[in-house]
């Protein structure tokens, strides 16, 4: 059977196919239909200017904090849940961990629709890989599939900064993928406007030999501290753990509750405020 190399062809514009409406086909034919054959582009003279103005209505929010790291017993993925459109908080309950399949997780940063759609599409193609190869797809393979799609749409305004995390034959893995086409394998990543704050806590507390409970707590603390200092992050900290048998959700905590859990108010002791008003010395004048 001839290998299908049509994915290497230069992308053709305006070839719109509606996936899902075809007749029964074999698995390889179905694989072709899973990539929505080049989403339709509007027939305008100046595409870039049009997309620039059209993207105003979408306003991808990179205001977020997500992190993922691997350690001895698996992968920990932790995210916040705030979505902001400029200064307005459009949602405090965004699901930024996308459950691609029972053993692969993806995170969301940037355009929410882009992340949701393409990671769901990735789940579809991972399933077809399983059916066609009688074996689960590796994290490297899954991340490559996604990265290639994003590279083919490079420059068209997709906005995604995502991490694909999972456990496969080679152990725990996490890959960072973004809409510029980058694909990086690594031990720990944090993505979003609060990532610098999360890195500080994550890097300080990280060890390869962490126990599961401590690793999850590290992820939780790192996101909490990012939400404390980054205005664009907040809401609920969700922590997932991926082991050899797949992922499980560990916790979902409101950051306000976490704050008072970590730093309880002691009634006897008045903590001095960070800044306070001072009395203006009254001068007899005029």
């Amino acid at each position: 059977m001839r290998t299908d190399l049509s994915c290497l062809d230069p992308p053709t514009l305006c070839r719109s196919r509606l996936p899902g409406l075809g007749a029964e086909e074999d698995v390889m034919g179905l694989l072709e239909k899973t990539v929505p054959g080049r989403l339709e582009l509007p027939q305008v003279a100046d595409l870039d200017a049009f997309e620039k103005s059209a993207v105003q209505m979408v306003k991808p929010s990179k205001g977020t904090t997500t992190l993922a790291f691997i350690y001895k017993d698996g992968v920990v993925v932790a995210v916040d849940s705030r979505a902001s459109m400029g200064p307005y908080i459009s949602s405090q309950t965004v699901k930024k961990v996308i459950e691609i399949n029972p053993y692969l997780l993806g995170t969301m940063a940037g355009g929410a629709a882009d992340c949701q759609f393409w990671q769901r599409n990735l789940g579809l193609r991972c399933r077809l890989h399983e059916l066609g190869n009688k074996k689960r797809i590796s994290v490297a393979g899954a991340s490559k599939l996604l990265a290639n799609i994003l590279f083919s749409y490079r420059g068209m305004g997709l906005s995604m900064g995502t991490m694909i995390a999972g456990w496969d034959d080679t152990g725990p893995n996490v890959y960072y993928i973004d809409s510029d086409g980058a694909r990086l394998k690594g031990q720990r990543f944090s993505v979003g406007s609060g990532s610098t704050y999360a890195y500080g806590v994550l890097d300080a507390g990280y060890k390869w030999d962490l126990k599961k409970e401590a690793a999850c707590e590290l992820g939780r603390r790192a996101i909490y501290h990012a939400t404390f200092r980054d205005a664009a992050s907040g809401g609920t900290v969700s922590v997932y753990h991926i082991g050899p048998d797949g992922w499980e959700k560990i916790s979902g905590d409101d950051v306000n509750d976490l704050h008072y859990a970590y730093y309880p108010v002691q009634s006897t002791q008045q903590t001095p405020p960070e800044q306070s008003m001072t009395d203006v010395a009254s001068t007899s004048s005029s």
């Binding site: 059209a54 209505m57 979408v58 949602s91 965004v94 929410a112 759609f117 997709l158």
Partner: protein
């Protein structure tokens, strides 16, 4: 609000080597204003929208409906550009019919939610300028509300507001509805503990308040209530100024 460009064709002068060429442009979008609210309860769902259709500073009509019933258990409310709204409704109705023929059953609300998300994303590079709320009863009979952005990202929530009056209404609902976050673990129900009549009262009050402070909201509120008994519509007048 995001899109402030007008519908009139614009002629720009472009100077090239001392010669001015007039280049006309056409903006395909417009914002017709309006506010949509949806609240999910234990066994009901309320969707409401005002009925004013505007363009710029003019009111085009005072009784345009923004709410449409897509299937037995799902109702769609849309604010934004009403031409795109109408087309989106036609697309969804057509796909719903195909589904009913292929599967010999009605589309459930979660299925319709996914369909709407995909329909919106397929036009990722020429979006439907619509901000949607899908409400209905899920497979267990509990109220569900799905909220969307213009290109199809969606989440199931306990309540949501879209449209020009969003920022006026949503703080009130945040305060009054006491809905748990769907992200808490162990999970708690996102449906509001309020009763159906309390939810309808809150909706009427908040739409009236939005009408006071948002120029695009007013004239009348259309309220659609979905519960075990079926779907019913009610209309309440608002100030016409």
């Amino acid at each position: 609000m995001a899109c402030t460009l007008s519908m009139e064709a614009q002629a720009e002068g472009v100077e090239t080597r001392g010669v001015v060429k007039n280049r006309s442009s056409f903006n395909p979008y417009d914002n017709n204003g309006g506010t949509c609210v949806a609240i999910a309860g234990e066994d009901y769902c309320v969707i409401a929208a005002d009925t004013r259709l505007s363009t710029g500073f003019s009111i085009l009509t005072r009784d345009a409906s923004k709410i449409v019933q897509l299937s037995e258990k799902s109702v769609l409310g849309t604010s934004g550009f009403q031409a795109d709204m109408k087309t989106l409704q036609k697309m969804l109705n057509a796909k719903n019919q195909v589904y009913r023929h292929q599967h010999n059953k009605e589309m459930s609300c979660p299925a319709m939610a996914q369909l709407l998300s995909n329909t919106l994303y397929y036009k990722r590079f020429f979006p439907y300028y619509t901000f949607n709320l899908l409400g209905g009863l899920d497979n267990e009979g509990k109220g569900c509300v799905y909220t969307y952005d213009a290109v199809g990202s969606y989440e199931r929530v306990g309540y949501s507001v879209q449209g020009t009056g969003q920022q006026l209404v949503v703080p009130v609902l945040d305060n009054q509805l006491k809905s748990a976050s769907p992200l808490l673990y162990p999970p708690q129900s996102t449906a509001t503990p309020l009763t159906e009549s309390e939810a309808v009262d809150i909706v009427k009050d908040t739409m009236a308040s939005a009408g006071e402070r948002d120029i695009y909201t007013g004239d009348a509120v259309e309220v659609v209530i979905i519960n075990r008994q079926g779907i019913r519509r009610e209309t309440f007048p608002l100030k016409k100024d």
